[in-house]
Each structure stands twice: as C-alpha cells, then as structure tokens.
C-alpha cells in the first residue's frame, strides 16, 4: 500500500510540474506587481529545484503539514477539514444505498429471473451503467425538484438552519450525536438526491454482479441438495446461496469506491455540495500544487484502504480463503 501511495505521489507531482504554468502569478492576480509575485514564489518555494520541492512536501506530510494553499490562502489541512467530511458523507450515503439496494435487487432479480422485477432491474441497470452521471443529476433535479417539488435543488442543509456542532463534519452523524433533530431532518432531506444520483451507477453494477453470481450459485449441486433436504426457500437463498455469491459483489463494491469518489466530483458541482470535488477542480485550474497533491493522495488512500477492507471481508465471508 505504501508503494502505491508513493507511486501516486510521484506521478501527481511529476505531471503537475511538467505542465508549464505560473501558479504564483495566477494567484497574485493579473494586475499584481512583479514584487508581489516574487514574494509569493519564495513563500511557496517555487524557486527551489523540483526534487527539493518534492522532498519538502513529502517530509512535511510525515509531520502532518500538508502545505499552504495558494488558492484559498490557508493551510491545506484547513481546507481538507472543511471540505473532505462533506464528500465522505456523500460517498458513504451512496455506498449505503449501493449495499442496501444493489445486493437485494441482484438477489431478487436472480430469484425471480425473467419476471417483471428482473426486467425493471435490467432497465435500471442499463441506465445506471450507460447514462452519464451529470445528465442523471440534472434529470433528477428537474423532475424531483422543479416539477415535483419533493426534494431541494442543492446544498447540505436549509439556509436558515444552523449546521450541527462540528464533531466529525458529517452533518447527519453530528446532529444524531448532539440530538439536533431539526438539523438531522434538514440534512437528511438535502443528501437524498445527490446520494441517489451518485449511487445510481454503482447500484447497477453491484446488482448485475450479484444477480449473475447468485444465478451461478443457485445452479450448484449443493443448492439442489439443500432444497431436496426440504429446507425453506428463504433459508436456501440467504443462508446457503448468498454467502457464496457475495464474494464477487464485495469485490465490485470495493472497486466502486473509486467510481463513487470520482463521481462525487461531478455530483458536488450540480448539487452545490461543498466537498473536496469542487475544491480539487479549482485547485487544478489554479495549479495549486499542495492542494492537488494532497487531494490526490487522499483519494488514493481512501481507495487503497477500502480495498484492504474488502480483502479482509473476504476472509470473514468465506472461511476457505486465507492469506497465510
């Protein structure tokens, strides 16, 4: 995992520095004097040789110093603290939808193969996989907000409601913990549409994989044996078949984390969700090296950790798998 992260950091650093650019000049503004630009350059160490800049950044990382952001004029860690929890909240909500909707949908599609439910699920899945996420987002906004007035257009919480006390930065968790029911109700409302949009494609993938994996499993001999033994269908499906069918589904979920994180960037823009996505896009436009490095590494960390968890889950699900 360390090697993956090192590789990612080198690659990101290399790419962002290879592109000819003058971020100090851009940060100072078009009407700034040379003096001002030089001051900024010195402050951010742009006048030092590249390997030294990389070294400074990496050693700073180890100390917990993520550098200073040219764009927002404050330490990157402050920006991360302000924006990352929002993305985590959105991605977690989407992940939950993915689990709670995707797996059951896949199971039921397999069990009721070729019936109406299966047909609907096929359409939904093709839609989820094929339709671009920003189009889906705009469609949901139009239908659910503009036409039906069921859900709000964007934001994390109603403008006139104070956000809950910041403990984790995730509004839903913070309001639960502090017993702030007004904030809980409001932030739950606001997260529904962005989370559904984000989860749509992942639900599709997970449902399809679960379905085909279940079909595979249900066709196995030992299932026929279980049925022959007279076990109730429910037991057959959930106790015997599902557990075996889950491995590919869990793998898919792990892989979907990457998709969810990158999809979050687009969803955040459309639903005005103040997360890391929008921040990263602005940083890239401004060539804010510290911010770009940090956010890329952050995403890489989340992705590798999630897949680590998936690997561990394998062992829990299937005792036959071990890493010794």
């Amino acid at each position: 995992m360390i090697f993956v992260l090192l590789g990612v950091s080198l690659l990101t650093f290399g790419i962002s520095h290879v592109i000819p650019s003058d971020p100090a000049r851009q940060a100072a503004g078009p009407h700034a004097t040379t003096e001002q630009v030089e001051v900024l350059k010195k402050k951010f160490g742009f006048d030092r040789p590249l390997p030294e800049q990389y070294w400074i950044y990496m050693t700073g990382l180890l100390r917990g110093d993520l550098g200073f952001s040219l764009y927002s004029r404050r330490p990157v860690i402050e920006d991360i603290k302000a924006y990352f929890p929002a993305t985590i909240e959105l991605t977690t909500a989407a992940m939950m939808i993915c689990l709670l909707l995707g797996i059951p949908l896949g199971v039921l599609s397999a069990v009721y193969k070729d019936r109406l439910l299966d047909q609907i699920s096929r359409v939904v899945c093709i839609g989820g996989v094929g339709l671009p996420i920003f189009w889906l987002a705009l469609l949901f906004q139009l239908v659910l907000y503009r036409w039906l007035n069921w859900l709000p257009a964007g934001g994390r919480i109603a403008p006139d409601i104070a956000k809950p006390l910041t403990i984790t930065g995730l509004y839903i968790i913070d309001s639960l913990v502090t017993g702030n029911w007004i904030a809980l109700r409001s932030s739950s409302y606001y997260i529904i549409m962005p989370a559904i949009t984000l989860a749509f494609a992942s639900v599709a993938w997970v449902a399809r994989i679960t379905r085909s994996s279940m079909l595979d499993t249900l066709g196995q001999d030992y299932i026929r044996t279980a049925r022959g033994k007279g076990l109730r269908e429910r037991q057959v499906i959930y106790v015997h078949a599902l557990r075996n069918a889950l491995i590919p589904a869990v793998t898919m979920i792990g892989l979907q984390t990457g998709a969810l994180l990158s999809g979050a960037f687009l969803v955040e823009i459309i639903f005005s969700w103040p997360g890391i996505g929008f921040y990263t896009i602005n940083s890239i436009m401004a060539m804010d090296f510290n911010a770009i490095m940090t956010t890329t590494l952050l995403v890489a960390v989340v992705y590798t950790v999630t897949n680590l968890i998936v690997d561990i889950l394998y062992v829990a699900i299937d005792p036959r798998i071990s890493y010794t």
């Binding site: 003058d22 851009q26 004097t33 007035n149 257009a153 409601i161 005005s272």
Partner: protein
C-alpha cells in the same frame, strides 16, 4: 415466456428513453408555472427577526424554499465563493458582495453608464494645486460595527495596513507617500507624484476601504496586522454585517440598524448568498422562486429562457470588461503595423457582438471600454473591410497573404474559440491561415512572460479595477511595462506614445490631460497592437418582486448595493 419477458424489457427501455427525450425538451415547453407575484407567504415560518432555527413542517418548500417568500430576506445565487474576507487581501473577481455592503471607501463611483464620484465616508475633498496633497473632510457620527467611532486615525490605519501588507490590489495605491490624520475629521494623503486618477482609484472595490483599528489591534497575532482574523471576520462601517460564512456554501449578511445612512421603511433584513456552481441549478431555483437574485450565470440559453419567464426579470448593462485579440508585435510579419491594421480590418466586429455573443455585447470603437475615464474616440474606426485589408497586406509585401498565424484561446472560454473560427473563415480569403489553439490560463501566463514564447495572437479579456481606463492605457501600452511585471502583452513600443503617457502621468490640468490621452489613443489605435473586439454586457436575473436593483458600472455585478433593495 422468453418472448413475453423480452417484450416487457423493450417496453420499459422505451419508456426510459421517452422520459429522457421529454426532459430534454421540457424546460422550453413548460408552461409558466410561477404566478406573476409570489403568493402571500405561507405562515409556517416565523419572521426572520429571530435567528433561532425554524420549527416548521418539513416540506421541500421550507427546506430552503420558504425563505424566498420572506419579504425581508434576499436569497442571492452566485457560482464562486471568495477566498478571504480581508478587504486588503481580497482581489477575487467573484463572491465579493460583502466588500461594498460591509465596508466603505472614502469616495464611491456611481452610475450605470458612466462613473461619477460621490461622497461616501468623506464628505468633501480638496486637491492642492501641485496635485500632491488630497485633503478629505470626513463624515461625522459614523461608527464601525464594533461600536467604535470612525475618524481620521482609522483612515490612516487602514491605508497604512494596506500598504504594509503589500497584497491584493495594493499596486493601485503605490502612489501614496504618506497619510496624515490632521484632526479627527480631517485626513491628508500626500502622493509621491501627481496622479490624476487618484480619486477614482480610491473608489475601487479592492483595497481602499476603512477597517476598524480597534478590532484589528484586538485580534492581532504575531504582528500579522490581524490578517488571520480578518480573513474570516468583518470590521467595517457599511449597511450590512457578516453574520456567518460557510466556505463554498453560503455567506449571510444581516442589516446594520445603526448605519449612518439611515433606513427607510422598506429594506432587507438578511442577505443569504449561496454558492451554486452549476448554472442550470441557478436557473431552476430562480424559476421556482427558491432564490431571488442570480449573479454570474454564464449560459446564454438559460438567461434567454429566464428573460421569457413570467415573474422573472433579466437586467442587462454594459460592463467595464473588454475582449481583445492581443498581438505579439515582435514576431514577423506582425511587427509590421500595416499587417496588424489589415488584421483589424478583417475582423467582423458586428458578427462577434450580435451573432456570437447574441447581442449581449457592443463592438469596441477605441482602445478602452466606454463610459470610463480615459475613453476617447479616435478619428476613424476599424470595420470589416476585406478590400482595405487586402490593400494593406499588399503594401506590406504580402499581396496573397501566404503565412499562418496562431490564435490562442483560454480553456473554458468557448466564446473565444467561436470568435476564432469566425475570423478563420475571413482570413482564409486573404490567404492567411489561422491556427486556432487552446491553452489553459496557467500555461499562457508562463508563455506570456517573454517575447519568444508569447503566442502570436491571443484572445484576452480585461476588466478595470475602477472606472478609469488610463490605468489600462499605462500598463498595457507603455513600453516600460513588458511582462512579467507589466501587462504590455504585445511588447509594443512607440516612443511618441511613451512620451505622451509619461507626461500624462504628472499632468494636473484636466483639459491638458484629455488632450494628451486623445493623442495617445489615436496613435495606439492606429498602431493596432491589438484588435479591440467587443465590450461585454453583464446580465443579472432577479424575481419581479425584488425592487431597487441598480447596476453600477464601476463595480460590475458584484457591487450590488443591497441597502437600496427591498421585496414587494
């Protein structure tokens, strides 16, 4: 069974596709759903006088929507947030609504077509005959939001702070030598050299506003002049105060009931500025009435559609921003003025303004925007005349063209690409091959830094810091201002122009000054180091119930004076 299930599948897929197509057509075809005026506010919300959270039934309307029907609260939408609340640091061309509503300068510029100096925190002023000393008589009885009195000491403190920090727009104020607080009500600015635009510079949004010395001193840390604190807090004298700021989410302003300007019986109690990066979302919210005012919408279709919507008003004004094609005058054949003039005669100005920009721009007829100081009309005007262009090219030794030129446009500004494509077709007729190339802003900054790497031609935009284009003329056309320190992107040098501009810098007689600039503009226009294309309009959208919106040329769309507004 298989056939039936396949049929069902096809039916469902068709349904989805139909829905998709319908949603594509829908926005234009949707009949007007919003009534002409907002219905009487549904009394499920408490009046916004209290700041306690609202106890209301959780319908989508109150979940962010109910506020728009509150007549004392204004919901403003804009795409980008600002990065700091410190007015001495802020130089962002976005999110700066608080700058003029929470802070005030000594003088303001007012007017939609032209800028007129108006007293703000200063009541009157005098300029010494040698043009070096400006004496201001300050308004009495003004208090900062923290309750401390406004006086000459505060003015001196604010400017000393601005000059010491050397950030933001400080470059506009380096002509100041020192500031003296003569007495509580009088302050003197002594300049290093006469500067005819000094008063206009003092009207700028960025920099010359007055902050409370008490607040800064109380929150200073390690000699940072209160920068860390003022980046996230506010200490001004204006009609509104910053209540809270959630970065990238919203900025809330509340009314300063003790404002020296006083209040009538119609005003706004609270301004909630929400940052909504997606222009379609802004449009949906305005249509639905969940927002009152939208600033910075970029989509021409969305704006046009909103202009047709009942209950919504789209206001349009000429702004101080221009689009111009910058020519690198060091690269042959562009070093020949005749070739540059030929280019100026080959550009279709009217098509750019009416066709590509949909009529939301006017063609330029000088080197600067209209309506600002420093605008002078030359004795002739470039128009699209391919005959004339060909003649000039022939005189320059290129009767059939026979060369290619690079045209760079900056990423994200698709309009510039379209303008390039239009021009490409016309230049082809002259035998010139226009190579259209996209470049990210940062890459261009780097390339622009020296005449070798600067592109042959590049479509740029220029916005003025305050309603005075003489600053533009100086930084762009004076030969001492080559990049990277200046903005003479064209590496243009004309000794006669240089002399005129140097004289103008120190001239104090307004009549003489006008003469000098008239001459300089005539020469620059003739030399054509640029092709001056269009002056763009700003469009603001608001619901019909929002009254009192006035556009101010000097402050663009960010300079909305909320204290003049109210809702019916």
């Amino acid at each position: 069974m298989k056939a039936r299930s396949a049929n069902t599948f096809r039916c469902l897929i068709s349904l989805v596709i139909l829905l998709g197509l319908l949603s594509g057509c829908a926005p234009a075809a949707t009949p007007v759903s919003a009534p002409v005026e907002n219905p009487a506010p549904v009394q499920t919300t408490e009046p916004a006088a209290t700041t306690a959270p609202v106890e209301a039934a959780p319908t989508a309307a109150t979940m962010g929507g109910g506020l728009a029907s509150d007549p004392k609260t204004l919901i403003v939408l804009t795409p980008f947030d600002t990065q700091t609340l410190d007015p001495a640091v802020n130089y962002d061309f976005s999110g700066g609504f608080y700058l003029l509503n929470c802070y005030e300068p000594l003088v303001k510029a007012v007017g939609a077509d032209e800028a007129k100096l108006t007293p703000a925190l200063a009541e009157s002023w005098e300029i010494s005959p040698d043009g070096l000393t400006y004496t201001f008589k300050l308004r009495q009885g003004v208090k900062f939001h923290d309750g401390t009195p406004f006086n000459a000491e505060a003015v001196k403190f604010s400017f000393d702070r601005l000059l010491a920090m050397k950030m933001g727009a400080v470059g506009n104020f380096t002509s100041i030598d020192k500031i003296e607080a003569v007495d509580d009500a009088t302050v003197k600015f002594i300049l290093k050299a006469p500067y005819a635009s000094f008063l206009l510079a003092l009207t700028s949004m960025w920099g010359p506003v007055i902050v409370s010395p008490t607040a800064i001193k109380a929150n200073e840390k390690d000699g940072d002049l209160g920068q860390a604190w003022l980046a996230e807090n506010e200490a001004g004298t204006g009609p509104y105060k910053v209540e809270k700021w959630e970065r990238n989410q919203q900025l809330t302003l509340t009314r300063n009931a003790d404002y020296w300007g006083g209040w009538g019986d119609k005003f706004l109690e609270k301004i909630i500025i929400r940052f909504v990066p997606e222009t379609t979302t802004m449009r949906l919210m305005i249509e639905k009435g969940d927002a009152d005012l939208a600033v910075g919408m970029t989509s021409i279709e969305d704006l046009d559609a909103l202009a047709e919507t009942e209950g919504v008003v789209v206001e349009e004004f000429a702004a101080m921003s221009i689009r111009e094609v910058r020519i690198n005058t060091t690269k042959p054949p562009l070093d020949d003025a005749k070739v540059r003039q030929a280019l100026a005669y080959s550009f279709d100005y009217d098509q750019a303004a009416t066709g590509i920009l949909g009529g939301h721009a006017i063609r330029m007829d000088s080197v600067t925007a209209k309506g600002v100081a420093g605008y002078f009309k030359p004795s002739f005007m470039y128009t699209k005349d391919l005959e004339k262009a060909k003649q000039l090219l022939t005189e320059a030794g290129h009767p059939d063209g026979g060369f290619s030129l690079d045209y760079v446009w900056l990423s994200g500004l698709d309009i510039d690409r379209q303008i390039g494509e239009m021009w490409q077709a016309d230049l082809k007729q002259l035998g010139i091959d226009l190579k259209i190339q996209e470049m990210p802003l940062n890459t261009w900054w780097e390339a622009q830094g020296n005449p070798e790497t600067a592109p042959q031609m590049m479509m740029g935009q220029w916005g003025l810091d305050y309603a005075d284009a003489t600053s533009q003329i100086w930084v762009m056309y004076y030969s001492g201002n080559f990049p990277p320190s200046g903005s003479n992107y064209f590496y243009y040098k004309n000794e006669q122009v240089d002399k005129l501009l140097e004289q103008a810098r120190v001239e104090t007689d307004p009549a003489k000054l006008d003469q000098l600039y008239q001459q300089a503009v005539e020469m620059i226009y003739t030399d054509s180091p640029e092709v001056w294309a269009v002056q763009t309009n700003e469009r603001i959208v608001h619901r019909a119930v929002v009254m009192g919106y006035t556009y101010n040329l000097s402050y663009y769309k960010e300079g909305i004076n909320f204290s003049l507004m109210y809702k019916q």
